[in-house]
């Protein structure tokens, strides 16, 4: 072996600044190999599109709100109704407060409490000792038994209103409460158990019984483009725009006494509070 290949010789060459091209090329080759390796392993996500990359960071709010809607409807249906005296007392509360709160006033216009009372007093079996699901089953019998359907309609709306009316602080007025009622519809003879595609659950939807109440002040907000209305930011991630404007739906089948079943549909607006007018 020649003198020029010894370690000492190489070292001496370095000291003299003779860093050979071969060495540089070998280092370059090393780094290029590493880069190719990284590309192959897709560690940097180089083969990902923006959409796919964003998907890994996004949260689909719809999925969460559908799960919430299912849970809400389930809890509605399993809610035990109060006894006769207490239920009529709750209905009476609506009557007494109709002039004290503007939202109750608006809601009351949709309800005929007198007709509702007539049905509830004549047929306590519909709700006494029953949960909300049993109540709907009982109304099915009255609806098809020759009873005045308008009264059955009013009874459903009144009971649903007193049981499930929600309230939030009325920010513009500070200290008062704004009331609203999420949509609930009942179809006594459904063809299937799929959710309705109507934007307004209670408008020409084929539901024999239906109620919803959103204060008028909220309606323009709800009709805005969703992206403007619900720009909620969740933990630093952006909520994805859902496919429909009316949020999430839940459907449940309940049995009725003629061995059939009724479809109950519920809509949950998870972004509702974000639509509230802020002070």
């Amino acid at each position: 072996m020649g003198k020029e290949h010894s370690a000492k010789h190489i070292s001496e060459r370095f000291k003299k600044g003779q860093f050979g091209l071969l060495d540089i090329a070998s280092y370059l080759l090393f780094f290029v190999s590493v880069a190719i390796l990284i590309l192959l392993l897709n560690l940097g996500g180089q083969f990902l599109k923006n959409k796919e990359a964003r998907a890994s960071l996004d949260v689909d709010v719809n999925l969460a709100s559908f799960a919430k809607a299912d849970a809400q409807l389930d809890s509605y249906l399993r809610t035990d109704l109060p006894g006769k005296d207490e239920l009529l007392e709750k209905i009476q509360w609506l009557e007494e407060n109709k002039n004290k709160n503007p939202y109750i006033t608006e809601l009351k216009k949709q309800l005929d409490l007198k007709k509702a009372r007539e049905i509830l007093e004549a047929y306590p079996e519909v709700y006494e000792g029953k949960d909300y699901s049993g109540f709907i089953s009982g109304l099915h019998a009255l609806y098809y038994s020759g009873e005045d359907r308008g009264k059955v309609w009013d009874a459903f709306r009144a009971v649903t209103a007193v049981m499930f009316l929600r309230s939030v602080k009325d920010y513009p007025k500070r200290g008062e409460f704004m009331f609203y009622l999420l949509p609930v519809g009942v179809d006594f003879d459904p063809e299937d158990l799929k959710p309705s595609s109507n934007e307004d659950l209670c408008g020409r939807s084929g539901f024999e019984l239906c109620i919803r109440y959103f204060p008028e002040i909220m309606v323009p907000q709800m009709n805005k483009e969703y992206e403007e209305a619900s720009g909620a930011v969740l933990a630093g991630r952006t909520a994805r725009k859902p496919a429909r404007r009316f949020s999430s739906q839940a459907v449940q089948a309940i049995p009725v006494a003629n061995s059939g079943l009724a479809k109950v549909e519920f809509r949950y607006y998870h972004e509702f509070k974000s639509w509230l007018p802020q002070a």
Partner: protein, 376 residues
């Protein structure tokens, strides 16, 4: 130093080092790349954070919907069964002693010539429903409507509920029916398989078996009493234990007679015989009859019967469950009426009938039956 350099330069392993490392690296990298690109969910699958978790929640929710339907169906079927159970006198189908006007007989007498016209129960072991009979009846009346509800649900739902249960049980207290499922409701999706058994426990809110026991005990004491005594007993217990009693006494079917053979009797026939002849014979030497008369002539024996008159009583009882909330004062349920094909509100009404016979042997009358002729 020279030895060390010489050693390094002569190391044979170095000749193969580079090739070996290169080949190993190629295989290793190839394996890693292959693994990455064959994962089920690639990074490019586009699934949002939490998608899989929400799919699991959705699966639970769908199963919960099926379970809620099963619970509600069991409750409705139990109410339907209770009304039918009461209407049938605690029997599920044909009562052992028959019935009258939609009321099952709990006591039924018979009076037969073979038994010397002594009134005896139709069924020596009795016609009263016992506790086990009542429970079996309730289950027998519960199963068809419950099955019908489940079938209706399975027709429309993507989630199917298997109708596969251990024998249903009835527990007293508030008439609790327990169904233990053998097979689960199964929901299968990509990467998710979830099963939950649709067992249930539903209560009626009224102990219909205890009602049956107490009513049967009272009914057994009523048979054979006079109408006045029965009304007295019923009015004394009316309203107790939340039960309202009502009785209906149709008029007894009087003027029945039971005939049974008690011996033989002589039978005769009327014959015309000559009672007086002319004193002188005719040209032929025959004595001609001057006067005839009819006389009884014995022709044999017949069967002697003793006819025992008896009265047959049918009392139709109706016992309703008191309910202060109901406008009628009685507990009502929504049930499906097969006759009108509608769902109607019916009272929980326990119906039964008591039948007994009072014979009056002291007024028995004897008669003779001749196959021809008459009693002498």
């Amino acid at each position: 130093m020279a030895n060390a350099n010489k050693l390094m330069q002569n190391k044979k392993g170095l000749d193969y080092y580079v090739a070996t490392i290169t080949i190993m690296a190629i295989f290793l990298l190839g394996f890693v790349v292959f693994s990455l690109f064959t994962k089920d969910y690639h990074l490019r699958s586009g699934l949002a954070l939490g998608s899989e978790q929400f799919r699991i929640l959705k699966t639970y929710a769908n199963a919960e919907k099926a379970l809620l339907f099963v619970d509600d169906s069991a409750r409705l079927a139990l109410e339907q069964a209770a009304v039918s159970y009461g209407k049938n006198g605690f029997f599920s189908s044909n009562p052992p002693c028959g019935g009258i006007n939609g009321h099952s007989y709990w006591a039924k007498d018979n009076i037969l010539p073979e038994n010397s016209c002594v009134p005896l129960p139709v069924n020596p072991s009795g016609c009263y429903p016992y506790e086990e009979t009542m429970k079996a009846s309730l289950i027998g009346l519960f199963t068809p409507p419950f099955s019908s509800f489940i079938s209706g649900f399975n027709e429309k739902s993507d989630v199917k509920v298997p109708f596969s249960y251990e024998p249903f049980e009835v527990k007293q207290g508030s008439t609790e029916i327990i169904g233990r499922a053998k097979e689960p409701v199964t929901i299968s999706m990509p990467n998710i398989k979830y099963g939950v058994k649709p067992s249930f426990t539903e209560k009626l809110g009224r102990d219909v078996v205890a009602d049956g026991n107490s009513i049967a005990a009272v009914a057994q004491s009523l048979v054979g009493n006079t109408e006045k005594d029965i009304r007295s007993v019923v009015s004394s217990i009316d309203g107790m234990s939340g039960l309202d009693w009502d009785e209906n006494f149709p008029p007894p079917k009087k003027s029945y007679t039971c005939d049974y053979p008690t011996g033989t009797c002589s039978c005769c026939r009327l014959e015309e015989v000559c009672s007086e002849y002319k004193p002188e014979p005719n040209e032929k030497g025959e004595f001609v009859c001057k006067k005839k008369k009819f006389v009884d002539v014995l022709i044999g024996t017949g069967v002697e019967y003793t006819g025992v008159p008896y009265d047959e009583f049918d009392v139709l009882m109706s016992v309703k469950v008191n309910d202060p909330v109901s406008p009628t004062g009685h507990k009502r349920f929504f049930v499906y009426d097969e006759a009108t094909k509608k769902v109607v509100l019916k009272e929980l009404d326990y119906n039964f009938a008591l039948n007994w016979i009072e014979a009056h042997p002291e007024d028995a009358k004897r008669s003779c039956v001749c196959s021809s002729g008459y009693e002498c």
